[in-house]
Subunit: 186 residues, 2 copies
């Protein structure tokens, strides 16, 4: 492969890392697999990410930004504050239906590495906190009681985990219906 700008190589490495780590699990993917899929040489990889764990962290961080941006962009298309809350679950359904969907990357990573890598565990907690805070914002904007946010969060987490395990999109609709009832009750 020809000489390549560092920023480009970094993105290609992260593209490969995301596809492989998410699809097969972190531990099942070697640095050599990343090289093969990205075309970035091992030497370059280790210049950009001095150890595999740092590549994992960078993968989770980039995915976190993208994931939350995609969600927020989808939700922002709705006007009504209560509709926005339900739109979260509509977006989950879209996500669950994508090719290669294999559950929540953070939940999976936590199961794989949470017990052995404090840094990954902290990143998972940060991601989930950010998602919960986002939901709390939507709930506040709709003038609904704060306790609702935690309940919606649990529904969304349950849907992610269940969709990941079963490979079906149905959990998103079930969660949406439960959310609708809770919003109405709130």
């Amino acid at each position: 492969m020809a000489v390549m700008d560092s920023a480009v190589a970094r993105e290609q490495a992260l593209d490969a890392a995301e596809e492989l780590f998410y699809g097969r699990g972190v531990q099942a993917v070697g640095m050599d697999d990343i090289r093969g899929a990205s075309g970035v040489s091992l030497k370059r990889l280790y210049q950009l990410f001095p150890a595999k764990e740092q590549l994992v962290e960078a993968y989770l961080e980039r995915r976190d930004v993208r994931w939350r941006n995609r969600l927020a962009a989808f939700v922002a298309r709705r006007e009504d504050p209560r509709e926005r809350i339900l739109a979260v679950f509509d977006w989950l359904e879209e996500w669950f239906g994508e090719d290669g969907f294999r559950g929540c990357a953070w939940i999976n990573s936590y199961g794989e590495l949470g017990a052995t890598s404090p840094r990954v565990a902290a990143q998972v907690r940060a991601h989930k906190d950010a998602f919960r805070a986002y939901l709390a914002g939507l709930v506040a904007d709709a003038g609904l009681p704060g306790a609702l946010a935690g309940q919606l969060f649990l529904l969304a987490e349950g849907a992610m985990v269940t969709a990941g395990i079963t490979g079906q999109t149905g959990p998103a609709r079930e969660a949406r219906e439960a959310a609708r009832l809770l919003v109405r009750a709130g």
Copy 2:
């Protein structure tokens, strides 16, 4: 260690497997760790479980039986059918508060091995199906609409995952409150 009955050795191996696999993750625990913690020699271990994957399967299967029995025994103490539904979440709170709680063993195992071990993935699905069916039974006994079972299931899964990641018991109470509202609405 003295000569040991096979059944006893098997239980000791599974005791060690459960403690270590659950506490540290499957991949972070070697067969030698199992030997050290159980006192069962490697030769014996491989007689009882011809490969590590079979030890993992036996661990998940024994834990599945015990987990569901514990839950059912706790719930059965309540008389009122609707109270029984809420008791599921009371039991979750107890479970989350136990020493060494580190989330749902099946969700964690799925994150770790779901992509690489079809047998483990199938066991996770079977466990979750059984839990969902149990909830559906409680819902039917209470004369509530069947759709409620899926919603309660998602709340419970969300609570497990969130309690595992945060190490707190609060998600059980949040899920219980949401369940109470959904039961009342149903």
